[in-house]
Symmetry: C2
DNA sequence: TCATCGTCGATTGTCGACAATCTTGGCGGG
DNA sequence: CCCGCCAAGATTGTCGACAATCGACGATGA
């Protein structure tokens, strides 16, 4: 996609590879939310020692995918409607900020790429590939953060992205299609590429509101009684 | 200050204590920006093994206080004017969002506490205690995040706070007084506690602009030729 | 003199074993 | 029947040693 050939070769440490695998397993649902993650079991499963595994777990904890209690246990993060609300509300603020950052620049490369990524998103939706459509939708929204050139903002987005993906993946597993229509980002693009700052803010906020509602509705359908975070 | 008695007792692990000590040493300037952090040396100095020390370093890396290159070395993060700009611009967005979160609530407890913390800030300024005035100013601004009740937002603030403190501490060491006047937060409080949303946004943005300018001026006075990040 | 390559010291990455702590289940006393 | 205590298992926390990798210095040859 956007891999630069002059970038250094990825000198992956074991920790990084473990984190990648574990993240994939969690987001794919192989290890469901709330499931225990025992260090000794995982290290045996991956055929590595506990050292790198622990560090990989720390990273996933930082990303919000895993929670741990000292001397007691480690689990995949549980789903919670409060979290959904926080994720989407903060994301609204961050994404508006990101777009504001590149508002005056009129970056032609960005404008082109945004349309391209929307085409890619539509392609995966038409293909019926839900798994890929999650990736392409995240890539679509991720572009505004990448194009902002704001490294700290990109870190914040990465932190939100993992959490968001956890909910989307769970939704996909439970309900099959995740629901985005082909034209769901048309007004988004128009607002982002337009000239009306207030309209852009309103459109982003509305876009997020719709996303949050969908996700919250899914969560409520999953476990009506449990409101706050539950362990297993 | 604001320690909740129903919160669990702090079961400190060695990793947490090491991170605290190291953070303190870095922010106090005992280990200046750019200085190397050798795991074996530090583990001997703290009389602990490298395991917990490494995990503490990972945490500080996450906080932006430390940078590392695989198999090569670890250093205290270097100061950079780009970082200052990013820190303050993102902080503007986050702090406005935080205040918006508790805008409609008219939280009396918050309004009281905000004034109290400003009094505490003024007290440390009057006492000429620069070290404490950094703490009280961070505590003052931190209140809006705490009162927002938004856990994810609080995490984001914590991530920014460490970086900010790194620059403020360096400024303090270089120039003695860090510069905030007694009344520097009067208009801030008025705007936050007022009724005019647009005025609030403008005031926060202006407050941050002033802070960023002060910090950037300090950095430029420190090393005029070095614009981007330099190692030692 | 200079470029190139090999070697060596330094530093981080990884490993397996031991210690500290928490939870759970059962036992005894009330 | 219930409550508190205790012991055992499970899990994470910590440790010291070994391996992989990197950067710099010096030898070597043109």
């Amino acid at each position: 996609m956007s891999i630069d050939l002059l970038d250094p070769v990825p000198k992956s440490t074991l920790r990084a590879r473990i984190a990648e695998r574990l993240r994939g397993a969690i987001l794919a649902g192989d290890i469901p939310p709330g499931a225990p993650l025992v260090e000794t079991t995982l290290s045996a499963r991956f055929d590595v020692s506990r050292g790198p595994l622990r560090e990989a777990l720390r990273q996933l904890i930082e990303e919000g995918l895993v929670v741990t209690v000292p001397y007691t246990g480690t689990h995949v993060a549980a789903l919670s409607v409060d979290d959904v609300h926080e994720i989407y509300s903060l994301r609204t603020a961050l994404e508006i900020f990101a777009i504001e950052q590149l508002w005056a620049r009129r970056d032609e490369r960005f404008r082109r790429e945004l349309v391209e990524r929307n085409d890619a998103l539509i392609a995966t939706i038409d293909a019926g590939d839900d798994r890929a459509s999650i990736e392409t939708e995240l890539a679509f929204h991720g572009l505004v953060y990448e194009a902002s050139g704001h490294r700290l903002l990109q870190r914040s987005w990465a932190s939100l992205r993992g959490r968001l993906q956890l909910y989307w993946a769970a939704h996909h597993r439970a309900h099959g299609r995740r629901g985005p229509r082909r034209d769901s980002h048309d007004s988004y693009i128009a607002a982002v590429l337009g000239d009306d700052l207030a309209a852009m803010r309103a459109e982003i906020a509305d876009h997020m509101r719709r996303g949050a509602e969908t996700t919250e509705r899914f969560l409520n359908s999953l476990e009506p009684p449990a409101k706050r975070e539950g362990k297993s």
